[in-house]
Amino acid sequence: MVIEPLDFFIAIYIFMLAAFTGYEIIAKVPVILHTPLMSGSNFVHGIVLVGAMVALGFAESSVGRVIGFLGVVLAAGNAVGGYVVTERMLEMFKASGERK
């Protein structure tokens, strides 16, 4: 399968709107959630895994395979590790009524 390049201007618009979205999401966050949110956003850029999979999947040389494999390992670590620590941190944010 050939990957079709994006239209340049559509890509720029996506970029701009996504930037505003990210800014808006964070704008009103309380200080107590700064660390968990940093961790959560760290998890979300674990989407790089998808790119690493594609890069390795279409790799033809052995150099490409080695680097691509390394990329998949690192990206999976980013996604899984990011999720686990975020979940562990947020698990503690219980309202008074929910405490055991």
Binding site: L6, A11, V31, I67, L74
Partner: protein, 470 residues
Amino acid sequence: MEDMTFTEFLIKTTYFVAVILFVIGLKRMSSPRTARGGVVWAGWGMVLATLVTFLYFWHDPDWTNIGLIVLGIGVGGAIAWWTGKKVAMTDMPQMIALYNGMGGGAAGAIAAVTLYKGVPIGADGEPSLTIGFLAVLGGLIGAVSFSGSLIAFAKLQGWMTKPIRFKSANQVNAALLVATLVIGLFLLGNYSTHIVLVSLFFVLALVVGVTLTNPIGGADMPVVISLYNALTGLAVAFKGFVLANEAMIIAGTVVGAAGTLLTQLMAKAMNRSLASVLFSAFGDEAVGGGEISGSMKPIEPSDAGVMMAYAERVIVVPGYGLAVAQAQHKVWELAQLLREKGVKVSFAIHPVAGRMPGHMNVLLAEAGVPYDLIFDLDEINADFEKTDVVLVIGANDVVNPVARTDPSSPIYGMPILNADKAKNVIVNKRGKGKGFSGIENHLFYLDNTRMLYGDAQAAVAELIHAVKAS
């Protein structure tokens, strides 16, 4: 659109759903009430996006590569799962740095695979300079974020205690960065398949990450980690352009923008500009920090315990020392004991106490301290004057009054908790050394300050004993 196959349609639609889940998840994570559900939403987005990506190889399966993909996800995922579950809550900041570095490294690896193949082909079938440029830029940022995050991890883990600084480090860094970029631009010409040049580009980019992070002191690490988090997001977005992957563009950009704002919020809480964090050697010039009068006066735990038990109001100021000693449960036990005796106990949290904003909140939440006892700097600073005893546990720079009084101090102007205004201050500290920033703390020398030396967990245990006895 019309020549899109069903497989492509399915992939693109799933990516679309995944992106919506990411945005909703992040939005929910920014409110304490919905935060726990937020990460689950985002998690499902990731699972869907990962699974559907295998469909790219549906019609043309190269089983070697697919096997490698599955193996890679298994290996990376298992290691990260194990370390993430095992790590102590106090070590969370460096784990975030580590996982973030891995993401940056993955973006760098994608760039390497792309660049070793040559300049990417654009929409018109010709090599596209725009896409090539984004591949180079994303590779550079990813590699810098990778090595930089690893240095940040090593520093917080205590593997690198002394920042390495040398003269005109900024000029050397700038030269390295320019050299890397120039090589990167060369790659866009016909040099792209030159394996040596591509390798040199990545080696230099990794070196830039190391030299850029090395001089930065540990106190500024939260800001740096947040910055690298934003940079990794940006690198992922650029890789999204290269691979024509909308999910990567949007998720990466959202993180890039959110991370940049978060970085600014943190730098602002420390009253430092981002530029001064990155380019000025901190704590070198003004270690003296003016004249110190008086001496440090130690106190026995039994006396400190009595003092607190008969106080009307006690404010606890936790810092990194609390995290290191894992003393959060003991501190809450002490607070509960005092509350039973009718003492009003509050916790005052400086925005950058610990190694990350919110670090102390996470620890106290783990110990079971309810929210309504925890106060921000703005909420509680006026109350110190009316407080009988302030118990400072392993905090240093965030209660250093020179930030208010001494314009020559590197932390001058940083908002601090006015612990020095209280009637009595008890400072628990391991030894007589200076804080993370290396600045003398004038609070320790005040007439109304007593020093309670020892590991926070042991010291608080003795305080509990003393309060029980009184």
